[in-house]
Subunit: 425 residues, 2 copies
């Protein structure tokens, strides 16, 4: 039975004219000849490409205009990928590729068309053959979750696994991760593994690898080059630096934010250039000081989720916070307005929180810039009530830091001490 799931317009016509349907194995000639299996497309795909799975396991989109010849081979999929590990070159450094799921580790089930975060780290490695010229890469699957489903339990599991490699022979570790909550995981690893002696580089992709415009390969290659060449200790996020395929930015794990829902260059270092830019030829450093505030590696892998993030706005009802306080929360992180304010209607509930010795910290919903509560009367009132200004810490990072600190006690002392470049002077 013919099947054309997701194809329409010119691409559908192309398949029909060649008597080829999804799941068929073909030989296909562009600049070179490949054996490949025709893959289904997503909903809302364009009609200018077909997508094929190569024998390497890598899905690629091919422009119709660049296909010189296509020939039906069989109606069964091409033989399973021969999973020969790439050749090891003893002169190259070793890198561990740890997969936690996400779009970067996703593949389309070629019969159902659904996307599942099920590409093994080994397959991910094999799908980017350029990696073998940069490093000898070992691959390991930790779990397979889209990152909106990542929980603090996953953070702990990831940190413990990374900790177990602190003294290993690896030059650094690449963590494949979904982009939705990558910044939260990066922050947690930064705090819990403060002083980790190797680079930990989180890598994701905004386009799954069956799409012509996937950013997975370039991001992975850049992360590997960054580790192999620089070996800078710290937690970083490596993602496209622009819409072109030229540069990858390597952001500090505590200063990075996903600032666009879909662009490949969605991730930005807030208020500064990225710490490193990996270009086609070089790695440019903008890093002014070491990532970790101290050198000694003393992992503290703790978390307590009794922390709330409250974005203040006109009409915010203080009762909502009252309930949280009654339930025994340990810290409140405000996303205040402007320089770090909340309205007078909040003063009473904040006083109540402080009486219960709940830590109350202030960040700004402006995202960029820094909290300064000494300028206006409102800010000075809030300081007097006992709200702690958190400089230019990002709200999400302050939240994660507070969860981490709440797992250790003495939240205020920890929140105001710099651990991993999470705020600037």
């Amino acid at each position: 039975m013919s099947e054309y799931r997701g194809y329409h317009g010119r691409a559908l016509q192309f398949l029909k004219e060649n008597n080829i349907s999804v799941g068929d194995t073909v030989t296909i000639t562009t600049d070179s000849e490949h054996i490949a299996t025709i893959m289904p497309r997503y909903e809302h795909s364009d009609d200018l490409h077909i997508v094929v799975k190569l024998k390497s396991g890598y899905n690629v989109g091919l422009e119709l205009d660049k296909i010189k010849k296509i020939k039906f081979v069989s109606s069964t999929p091409a033989a399973m990928v021969e999973q020969s590990s790439p050749q090891q070159d003893p002169s190259l450094p070793k890198i561990l590729l740890l997969s936690t799921g996400g779009t970067i580790a996703s593949r389309v089930d070629y019969r159902t068309g659904s996307v599942t975060p099920a590409l093994s780290a080994q397959e991910l490695n094999a799908s980017v053959p350029e990696l073998s010229s940069i490093a000898n890469i070992d691959a390991e699957v930790l779990f397979s979750e889209y990152s909106e489903n990542i929980t603090p339990e996953h953070w702990i599991k990831t940190a413990c696994k990374l900790d177990s490699y602190a003294d290993s022979e690896y030059a650094g570790i690449i963590v494949a991760h979904g982009t939705d909550t990558m910044q939260y995981t990066a922050a947690f690893l930064s705090f819990s593994l403060a002083g980790f002696p190797k680079p930990i580089v989180l890598v994701g992709s905004q386009r799954s690898s069956d799409r012509p415009s996937s950013d997975a390969a370039l991001n992975l290659i850049a992360a590997a080059r960054f580790i192999a060449q620089l070996r800078t200790p710290g937690v970083f996020v490596a993602m496209h630096n622009s819409l072109s395929d030229d540069d990858v930015a390597c952001h500090l794990g505590t200063r990075v934010r996903k600032n666009h829902t879909s662009r490949r260059d969605a991730f930005e270092t807030v208020g500064a250039p990225p710490a490193f830019i990996v270009t086609q030829s070089d790695i440019i450093s903008n890093l002014k000081s070491p990532y970790f505030a101290k050198n000694k590696y003393t992992p503290k892998i703790t978390v307590d989720t009794s922390v709330v993030l409250v974005k203040y706005h006109p009409g915010y009802e203080p009762q909502n916070l009252d309930y949280t306080i009654e339930r025994g929360c340990k810290a409140i992180i405000f996303e205040g307005t402007g320089l770090g304010h909340v309205g007078k209607s909040m003063y009473e509930i904040v006083r109540k929180a402080r009486q219960k010795e709940i830590f109350v910290g202030m960040t700004s919903q402006c995202i960029d810039g820094r909290v300064n509560m000494a300028v206006y009367e409102s800010g000075r009132d809030l300081l007097n009530i006992g709200i702690v200004p958190l400089a230019d810490m990002l709200p999400e990072v302050a939240l994660v830091k507070a969860m981490w600190a709440a797992g250790q006690g003495s939240i205020k002392e920890i929140m105001t001490r710099k651990i991993a470049s999470e705020f600037t002077e």
Copy 2:
């Protein structure tokens, strides 16, 4: 008794050398000669300026290096501002300047040094003499609040006041407003006064007018020029477009966000250039379509604050939302991750909300880009549970729109209908 509040370093030395202290009246010569009163400085001020109040009531910072002569006149402040209304020119349009408070309408009490939002609209007008060549400006004080203390009751009061001027002789209305929650007020006015036949331009400043770098005058002048020259109906926010004093951006009131705590160009139109740029010589328009979706002016000045904004993050505890649902909230606006996701741990509580017929809408904490819940399994699950994707509506705007819609019933129908350019196709 000599008093030098806030002065230090060179500026303090300058005052002492000239036997002048805060509160004294002096004649001061720069390019021209003025009678002025010496004002105190803020904490953390530089030591390169002194600040004086001119007879016009305008506070200006004067660079020490530009002061040619300073001469003591008396130890009492200069006579109160002579509040002569500027000359009216019948050939110019009329504009109403409505003051609600904020830094733009603040002044320093020259003896105590504290900032109070107490500059009257008339004084604000008089402090920017350039306005009189653009329009005949009437001034009115509605209230005097820093905008972190603005509540939905203030929104209602402002909308009713503006509504009363819908058929007036004014070409448009400038609303002086604090910058902290200006975007929320702008959104509320956009929805409640949909179809308003004149421009409403909110103007603030990031530096109070006693500072040498105050942006108040330029923003006011640009707003007046925009109204006088274009008369484009809609709700706009006029603020510096860059760190220089060259251009002022006129943003759509539903697409603007304060994206920096302190920069004068903190306000940005998200995902697009500002609707208008007011340059020194011209006004450049980027507006593609009318601001309001319909032309007929039918004010609906309603609000119901039974709406919550929930920023999803790993470790978010669904119980917090449960309490809100039990208390009878009418709408939940999620700031989801990425393309509009929340973790699986939230599915049950969202189902419960939907069973109670609570509206549940999805925006993205990425701020830029648009929600697309059809790409991943998570998004499709959430659509099935009944979450309504809100395109590229900003989270804060979606919150205000939901509060406005909740005041009218049929929240879902209103939330998905475009009222005032709050989302794009």
